[in-house]
């Protein structure tokens, strides 16, 4: 069965690119427009992996990761942060919140797929 990956990003174009790339590679994709949306969608449909932006309205990426790691449904899924922040402290914050890894924007579809393959197996 195809694995389901959620992309949470307030930018339509990024979401579109991520989900297009992943669908082409045979994954199922759930899109969420911000952290809050992501959290409520994850509660109803569990996913195998999350790719999230850090800067989002309503609930930001760090908050989203913290919520997921504290919850029960998808506690152990790999979470990849998508971010333009290359500063170390942001990464550390994400890591502390429980992120599995991060990709710094801009990235190419191949790079995204390589990372997904790496953490999803």
């Amino acid at each position: 069965m195809a694995k389901t990956i959620m992309t949470a990003d307030d930018s339509t174009s990024v979401r579109q690119m991520v989900s297009f790339t992943l669908r082409e590679a045979g994954y199922q994709v759930v899109e969420a427009v911000d952290g809050k949306d992501a959290l409520s969608k994850i509660k109803s449909t569990p996913v195998h992996m999350l790719i999230t932006d850090l800067n989002m309205p309503n609930l930001d990426g760090i908050g989203l990761i913290r919520n997921i790691r504290a919850g029960s449904t998808c506690k152990f899924i790999p979470i990849i942060m998508l971010t333009t922040e290359s500063q170390a402290e942001k990464k550390m914050a994400g890591k502390a919140a429980g992120a599995t890894g991060w990709i710094v924007k801009p990235f190419k579809p191949d790079q995204l797929l390589a990372v997904v393959k790496k953490v999803l197996g």
Binding site: D10, S11, T12, S13, V14, Q16, M17, F20, M49, D53, N55, M56, P57, R69, K75, F76, I77, P78, I79, T83, T84, E85, S86, Q87, K95, G98, A99, T100, G101, W102, I103, V104, K105, P106, F107, Q111, A114, V115, K118, V119, L120, G121
Partner: protein, 706 residues
Amino acid sequence: MMQNPRITYKEEAIELLAELEGSLLELEENPGDSEIIGRAFRCLHTIKGSGSMFGFDDIATFTHEVETTFDLIREGKIAVTAELIGITLSACDHIRSLLEASDGGAAPDKEHGESLIASLKKLTGNIADPPPAGSSEYMDEPEQKASDIPEASDISYRIRFRPDRHILTTGFNPILLLNELRGLGPCKVVAQINEIPPLDEIDPEACYTYWDVVLTTNHGANEDVCTITVDIIDDGEGADEEEPVEVRLPNHKKLGEILVEKGDLTPDDVNGALSAQKPIGQLLMEAGVVDPGLIESACAEQEHIKELHRTRQANETISTVRVPADRLDTLVNLVGELVTVQARLSQMAALQNQPEIIAIAEEVERLTENLRDNAMNIRMVPIGTTFNKFKRMVRDLAEELGKNVVLETVGAETELDKTVIERLNDPLIHLIRNSVDHGIEEPDIREAKGKPRHGTVRISATHSGAFVLIRITDDGAGLDREAIHNKAVAKGLISPDVEFSEKDIFALIFTPGFSTAEKLTNISGRGVGMDVVKRNIEALRGSIEIESRKGAGTVITLKLPLTLAIIDGLLVKVGEGQFVIPLPIVQECVELTPVEKAGSNGRDLAHVRGEIVPYIRLRERFLIKGQAPQIEQIIITGACTGKVGLVVDQVIGERQTVIKNLGKLFQYVEDISGATILGDGKVALILDVPKLVEAEVEVAQGTCIH
């Protein structure tokens, strides 16, 4: 289908700009509202982030500066002023004009952008200048290889992977890392479980296991191994240690060996004593000094290194066996004979209808097939070496002609019979020369036609069933159908009022003495080439085909049999004699009725669907005695200039045919290319149809008397 992401990005950016402007205006009213500042920052952030991802680098760079300012505002380091808002608003306009410019609008004033950034910088007062974004952690990592480790040679590593206890709560699966390590080369993994606490103390979410890994790889120490995985989990205690294992061959002799050599002991004594002795691992374990898991990992390492040595030694001995080609030919001949004998055995077994014999015959059949495939495989060599020679040739040729030509090769690893490759060399050289000389245009002409200045010639080799397809593709001028037609008419090869298909027209260039090039060069164009190419390819039992579009290029496809020793043939019967006609040249089989024979008035012509096809009566040609049946069969072949029929008594069917040479005594027999032994032990002759037709034409013209 997905909408072009660039378009989506533009739409989104315009929305974001509107939102940003709204926030800025609101901010002017309430300069201290952190929520509005956050909103403005996010807008800028998204414009920048997505911008660089979809190739709007100018927007990304510019927006980055504005974003930096707002980052400072967000952190409370600078205050919101009317001036700042004014500058940011004009920055919005600038971003918008950059967006429009990418749509083909007027190019925005670059200086304007720079002056905006300058005034922003003045406001922020160089409080902070964070490094520009855009570097990617994962992608940078491989460049930091340990430079002291030579890349290509295999190095064995001893790796202990002891992840942080809480690794599972970061969504990371250690098994994936181990699998990845396994993918790097020969690898042994031993899980260490001695740290797992008793059941009532276990935290089910923690990872207590750690792993000892022995890995032999030619990847650098820090190349791929620890990109995402180790770097991210290294906030725990010592995650990963790597040290090259010194690989030492046990050159020294063991005590027992020395004693035996000196004659002090017999080998049996030593072995007896040794069997009583416990392995060191067991001794240590019993003494309680080490944990069984650790012994296991040490043993695994020992084993791993031993295996490595074994394979290395094996490789050294196996990789170079040079055998003279004629020995291989003998082998292939013998295998061919075996195939024939096996066919007889199978036939006999089927006739006797005894289950035991049938079982044996089937086993022999299976073995023979394997043996045949193996023997054929030995003769196979990759075509790549031939390809490499062409690169140089194309380069020199292009230089001489003042053209820019790139030669691409695909499928260099495709294997073909050695003899085929050797005999393919000249035809390929000719075809590639043709492509470079006639196909690819001069750089200026190419540019005028809207093509890149450098032309591309591509040779590709692919397998297709029992054949190999070799394609020579160029993106040059293509064949001019009209010119070929006119030339053929002028030379009297075809009549002007007959319509020809494109394929037929292109086939004309294989006619001897045909060249449409306006000027002759010393490379090609004298019209002595293509017919020779065709003859060479046909001698290899291959075929040649041309596709071309004027202005776009030409594709020449050579279809060659994988091997010369075994062919697909059509077995036919004339009187008591049996003949094999190579199947690739057979087009169809039709009946020759007495009515038709009478209708052609003894001129040996048959009507096949409105076409007149001349035929050769094999019965007459080979002086076979006996009466022909009422209805004979014509095998229509298309080997040479046109269709020619061969009249036989009976068509038996398709056969895999092992070719045997006729030997010295028959070396001047031209119509027969070889012989094969049939399942019932009889011999069938293999016809060389082009030669047969040639000879017949000569007889008809009276130039040769048989």
